[in-house]
Amino acid sequence: MRLTMKWRRREEAMMKALMVASLAVILLFLAGIIFVIVSRGARALSWSMIVQTPKGGYYLGGGGGIANAIVGSLYLTLGASIISVLLSLPIAFALQREYVPRAVANLTRLALDVLWGTPSIVYGAFGFVVMVYLGLRASLLGGIIALSLLMLPIMTRAMEEVIRMIPLQLKEIAYSLGATRIETTLHVVLRQALPGIVTAAMLAFGRGIGDAASILFTAGYTDYIPHSLLDPAASLPLAVFFQIGTPIKEVQDRAYASALILLIVILVVNLFSRFMSLRFSRHNVR
């Protein structure tokens, strides 16, 4: 079929308009989400919400706050971050060429990518299986286990990308000076990749703190701040989830405020990690 130039131009203009419209719709949704959470949350947010734990009748509109969820979320995610870093770093280092053949590294990347995509509810269910096996009840420790498994692939994959970018010459210099593999890894690779590693850890932290499904049955929920690893722990996403589920308006308003706190935490972590990677990569060898 022969099309006239005029028709083609029209098609081009139409498709372009459709593309811009599509992008606009998506961005509009994002703006809408942020606007709704900020405007509704800011109205209900107060200082007592942040510093107090729930008092009697809190879920019927009584006084108190969600300090339990804020502290619980921080405990859970910090604990899980520590475990994840301790596991991710050796894995990311081991993926270097001097440790494993390329085929093994590629296989591990595939395994990590598949794990990255695994739904968080599956991590929750698996965490539950592990807990039953270990004889644990819903607790801070259980939540940390499930969450650290969820964060592991995110962190490792991001770290590994950074480590892969390190110029080979740098490592060759170290080896030519007679350094062993672990010495090269710790003194050259780790130092060079440190900004990226911190960014990776914060990326995983951001994902971890927002995740609800994996800690739903592993961490439980409580009105108190946990005092030991075996106490159940509240968390921000679940605070949002449970409070929006009640029919009382005051409690629902607090769900918006909790969501705003969560959103702010995530934005801060996001911006901070970007800043870190810019600020600390200045002295790197390229």
Binding site: R8, E11, E12, K16, L18, S22, L23, I26, L27, L30, G32, I33, I37, L87, P90, I91, A94, N106, T108, R109, L110, A111, D113, V114, L115, W116, G117, T118, P119, S120, I121, V122, A125, F126, V129, V130, Y133, L149, L152, T156, R181, I182, E183, T185, I209, G210, D211, A212, L216, P237, L238, F241, I244, Y256, A259, L262, L263, I266, L267, N270
Partner: protein, 294 residues
């Protein structure tokens, strides 16, 4: 020297152990969930469990059919809404926009991917559900708004960052010569995109869609909040549905007190793990092959 050598050996062993853990975690999860779902599989065949629509845990009836239909339908609605929109947006970002705008948008889209699902869910409850209810009522349906359609819309928004970022990357990976050659023939930019770029990037674009699909398939909290959670096969967009992840999340409280209930829920998790795992494996293998080719 000996000490340094031993240190290297020791650390290498530790790192290899961590590597083995990373490679076996998926299978550990598979085994763990299978082990827990064995009691119910011993009593009933998998095909019976998947095909039956009767869900009465107290009477030992576990039919997953409505939940599987709910999951698939809500995911399909999300994909129908998200795929054309995201692909068009990705084409614009990859081919038409300036580099600076693309970089700025990448930050925004990363941010969008990082927003927790509970916040998407909350947005759904505040904005999408009332909207769907009003539209449904205008069309003469009795509906609460907590429907298949609301779940699909929220999921579509949630998978957008994945589909867009992978698609943009895939399109950018097409060699410049392909564009130049087709433009030199005097065709319009869109014609070049449709006939040349889409063709040479088709595996990558398909992977982007599959990754989005897998994400939507396993999404829990956001869907749970807006989809209504009624264990019946939905017949229209304005009927409530009950996807598998929501089923697991909603019933963890009572699963220990009813016999076989925990086993059934772990089987649901196992199904999710297998389905999403297979989708991801296919998509990533296609993406790796493309990376190698370019």
């Amino acid at each position: 020297m000996r000490w340094r050598y031993l240190k290297d050996r020791g650390n290498t062993a530790g790192m290899k152990a961590a590597l083995i853990f990373a490679n076996s975690l998926f299978f550990l999860m598979l085994i763990g969930l299978y082990y827990k779902s064995r009691p119910i599989l011993a009593l009933k065949s998998l095909s019976h469990l998947l095909g039956s629509s009767v869900w009465l845990p107290t009477q030992g009836q576990f039919g997953f059919y409505p939940f599987i239909v709910g999951t698939v339908e809500v995911t399909l609605i999300a994909m129908i809404l998200a795929v054309p929109t995201c692909l068009l947006a990705a084409v614009w970002l990859a081919e038409y926009s300036s580099r600076r705008f693309r970089e700025a948008l990448r930050v925004v889209i990363d941010l969008m991917a990082g927003i927790p699902s509970v916040i998407y869910g909350l947005f759904g409850v505040i904005v999408i559900v009332p909207l769907v209810r009003d539209v449904g009522r205008a069309l003469g349906r009795q509906t609460t708004g907590y429907t298949l359609l609301a779940g699909g819309v929220i999921l579509a928004v949630m998978v957008a960052p994945i589909i867009i970022s992978v698609s943009v990357e895939v399109l950018r990976a097409v060699p410049m010569e392909a564009r130049e050659t087709s433009l030199a023939l005097g065709i319009t930019k869109w014609a070049a995109v449709r006939h040349v770029l889409f063709k040479s990037a088709r595996h990558g674009l398909l992977s982007a869609v599959v990754l989005g699909f897998a994400r939507a398939f396993g999404e829990t909290i956001a869907v749970l909040m807006v989809v209504g959670n009624v264990a019946r096969v939905p017949h229209s967009l304005f009927d409530p549905a009950y996807p598998l992840p929501a089923l697991i999340a909603n019933n963890y409280g009572e699963m220990m007190s009813i016999p076989l209930y925990d086993s059934a829920l772990m089987l649901a998790a196992l199904i999710l793990l297998v389905v999403v795992g297979v989708f991801h494996m296919v998509a990533h293998l296609a993406l790796y092959r493309m990376e190698k080719g370019s």
